[in-house]
């Protein structure tokens, strides 16, 4: 009860994706679309206007056999913290339709408030934000299979990965009914985390030293959450977006692919060392 009375430390939900384990199967993408009622078109071949909250990129090291190597990189929304919550997209939205939740560290999207100016999309360097160019059209009978916990989106607004925020709300509701104010680590997990057959995705509170995500990357909160684990990195670390999605790989070329470096640079920059 003494613990209950204290001001609780804010959570910072985040994700760690082990790229050495990812096989590129796409189960995370499928699970995400099903879980979040993500609309799709009859022809999804044009990836420039199709919605994929979670998108798996294929990276190559550009070398020929026998040195050729590939890597699959799943990319959800990074839920950037930026500088004290001024993530690239949140700070630019003119109608406060996207918000940084300081209790969870999750960047939300308020569908009923977004009026579709798309400034947030221009601001996001990860292309994690998607515009509904069309109204969603579900195949006959599929509406019965849509999740009742996630509102379907209409034409003309922006959407993105929410770290399955509805799951957080459901878990918090359950905890409240049970007289708790804290969640166990496994009570709130995203659908992609659970769907990954290789166990490449780990999800939890980066501020909680008992959670696996914290133990895996050892975020340095004095430096915007930069990982202290030398095998961990964040995409475009140098831009200062302070993402809450971390990647891990034992391969140097993959870690280096996470950011931009000018020629012959990188021997001492960050924790990523050049393999050239």
């Amino acid at each position: 009860m003494k613990e209950e009375g204290k001001h609780k430390k804010a959570k910072k939900y985040g994700m760690v994706i082990n790229l050495d384990k990812c096989t590129g199967c796409g189960a995370c993408m499928v699970a995400c679309m099903a879980e979040n009622n993500v609309p799709f078109k009859e022809d999804e071949s044009n990836k420039l206007d199709s919605i994929t909250w979670m998108r798996v990129y294929k990276l190559t090291n550009g070398k020929s056999y026998p040195d050729a190597d590939i890597c699959y990189l799943p990319r959800p929304c990074m839920h950037c913290e930026g500088d004290h919550g001024h993530s690239p997209c949140v700070s630019v939205c003119p109608a406060t339709a996207t918000d940084y939740n300081h209790d969870t560290g999750i960047v939300s999207q308020i569908y009923t408030r977004c009026f579709g100016c798309r400034y947030c999309m221009g601001a996001c360097p990860y292309h994690a934000r998607y515009f509904n160019w069309w109204d969603p059209v579900w195949p006959e009978g599929m509406t019965k299979y849509l999740s009742p916990n996630v509102s379907a989106r209409m034409r003309g607004i922006v959407e993105k990965c929410s770290f399955c925020f509805h799951r957080y709300q459901l878990a918090m509701n359950k905890a409240f009914v049970e007289g708790r104010s804290e969640l166990e680590e496994d009570e709130y997990q995203t659908s992609c985390t659970q769907a990954c057959p290789a166990g490449a995705i780990t999800f939890g509170d980066l501020n909680n030293s008992h959670h696996k995500v914290n133990q895996l990357v050892k975020p340095d909160n004095n430096h915007g959450g930069r990982p202290m684990n030398p095998n961990a990195f964040r995409l475009l670390e140098r831009l200062g977006t302070n993402p809450k999605v971390y990647y891990m790989s034992s391969r140097e070329w993959i870690r280096r692919a996470g950011d931009n470096y000018i020629e012959n640079e990188g021997q001492t920059k960050g924790q990523i060392k050049s393999h050239h």
Binding site: N46, L48, D49, Y57, L59, L73, G82, H86, P88, S91, V92, C93, P94, A95, T96, A97, R113, C114, F115, G116, C117, R118, Y119, M121, G122, A123, C124, P125, Y126, H127, R129, Y130, F131, N132, W133, W134, D135, M154, R155, G156, I157, V158, L235, L236, R238, L239, G240, T241, A257, G258, D259, N260, Y261, I262, E263, E265
Partner: protein, 410 residues
């Protein structure tokens, strides 16, 4: 047929010729309106925009017309606040052009948003941290100011002026115009600047981001400065074009040269600031984020280093040099060349700060993405041009836009 409406002492073409010209421009306007309705009814899927190009042709057009319309606020500032009295002979046209540019900008924004019926959310749920919020507030307010500045001109129509109330209203509005000119200049400083800030604050986009002072990135000041420099060039350009089309001298050479000279000084100083900004960005800002200058201008089919040279040297340094020399200003061909280059220059700058920002890949495993607008986008972008031509034609025919016209064409 409509001679009773035409200002006294000036000659205009026949009504038939005028009506035909209006019909031609009206045809283009209707084409644009059709495309606009398609976009409003069917949605933004009518465009070739995509999730990489969330900002595209329209936003460029928006920024472009706002920059070109900058002649209104800057000429107003010079005329009413600084006291350059000669500019009273061109201020009406500057206001009209500004009114057209800003009403077009607002229309473009109304077409561009995915949920037009929610457009008012930008005021209701305003996010004070967003540059776009500042743009929306200042743009709307300044359009109000331009309307107030344009109204007395309408009231000066020969027939309307006969009504004592309207005559007195126009007179009294003219009396207090300095207040509106000052308000317009204040609002313009902020919305022109915040349009620059729209790109400059994108710290996730190394091509766009700039350092700055307090909350304002350098692009904030560069946009205001460039609008003040290049906006009057557009006013002069359209004035010259009107003179060529009508075959009449409408504004005395000393007025043209005065505005051209001031524009030249503004442009010259702007270009120096722009060069310093580009140099600092290329040597400090971008490398700190892992980019060399050439990374932004290579490995793609369109955006080469040429675009930087055309913007800064050919359409910046050269027109500034022409406008700064008395010979350049007095030579009709040279002056018209400088004005044309200047207009192209500021349009290139706005293009680069919108479309090239979207095109440059940021993640290492992505490529450049090119974009070609759909016909609906092109039609809705041409729509304001047709609307502008029609409004200029009507205003020129029925309103005393150019105070020196009678004297210059006895």
């Amino acid at each position: 047929m409509d001679s009773a409406l035409i200002p006294e002492g000036v000659k205009r073409c026949s009504f038939g010729k005028f009506a035909l010209a209006i019909m031609i421009a009206g045809g283009v306007l209707l084409w644009g309106v059709f495309a606009m309705l398609l976009v409003w009814i069917k949605g933004l899927n009518q465009t070739n925009m995509n999730d990489y190009y969330g900002f595209a042709l329209w936003i460029w057009a928006d920024l472009g017309v706002i920059a070109l319309g900058g002649g209104a606020f800057f000429t107003g500032l010079l005329r009413y606040i600084i006291g350059k009295d000669e500019l009273k002979n061109i201020i009406n046209y500057a206001v009209l052009i500004g009114f057209i540019c800003y009403s077009s900008a607002l229309l473009i924004l109304a077409i561009d948003i995915g949920q037009p019926l929610r457009g008012w959310f930008i005021f209701w749920h305003a996010n004070v941290h967003s540059m776009l919020t500042e743009v929306a507030f200042c743009l709307s307010c300044y359009f109000g100011v331009l309307t107030i500045e344009y109204i007395p001109l309408i009231l000066e129509n020969r027939q309307i002026d006969k009504v004592p109330f309207f005559h007195n209203l126009a007179h009294n509005m003219h009396e207090v115009m300095a207040i509106f000119a000052a308000t317009g200049a204040f609002l313009s400083f902020f919305h022109q600047g915040s349009l620059g800030g729209v790109a400059g604050v994108l710290y996730g986009r190394p091509f766009a981001v700039r350092e700055g002072i307090f909350i304002w990135p350098w692009t904030f000041f560069l946009f205001t400065w460039s609008a003040a420099a290049y906006g009057p060039c557009f006013t002069l350009f359209v004035t010259r074009l009107t003179e060529k089309i009508t075959g009449k001298k409408l504004v005395k050479q000393n007025v043209i040269e005065l505005l051209a000279k001031i524009s030249g000084w503004m442009m010259g100083s702007y270009i120096i600031a722009k060069i310093i900004d580009t140099w600092y960005w290329a040597s400090v800002t971008a490398p700190a984020r892992g980019f060399n200058l050439i990374d932004f201008y290579s490995n793609n089919p369109f955006y080469g280093i040429w675009i930087l040279i055309v913007e800064i040297v050919i359409c910046g340094v050269i027109p500034a040099a022409i406008l700064l020399t008395p010979k350049g200003r007095s030579n009709s061909t040279l002056l018209f060349t400088a004005l044309s280059l200047a207009c192209i220059g500021v349009l290139i700058n706005r293009w680069v700060m919108v479309l090239q920002v979207m095109a440059v890949p940021v993640m290492t495993f992505e490529n450049w993405v090119m974009y070609i607008p759909s016909w609906q986008e092109v039609a809705t972008t041409i729509l304001p041009v047709a609307y502008g031509i029609i409004l200029v034609m009507i205003s020129f025919r029925y309103l005393p836009i150019f105070p020196q016209e009678r004297e210059l064409n006895p």
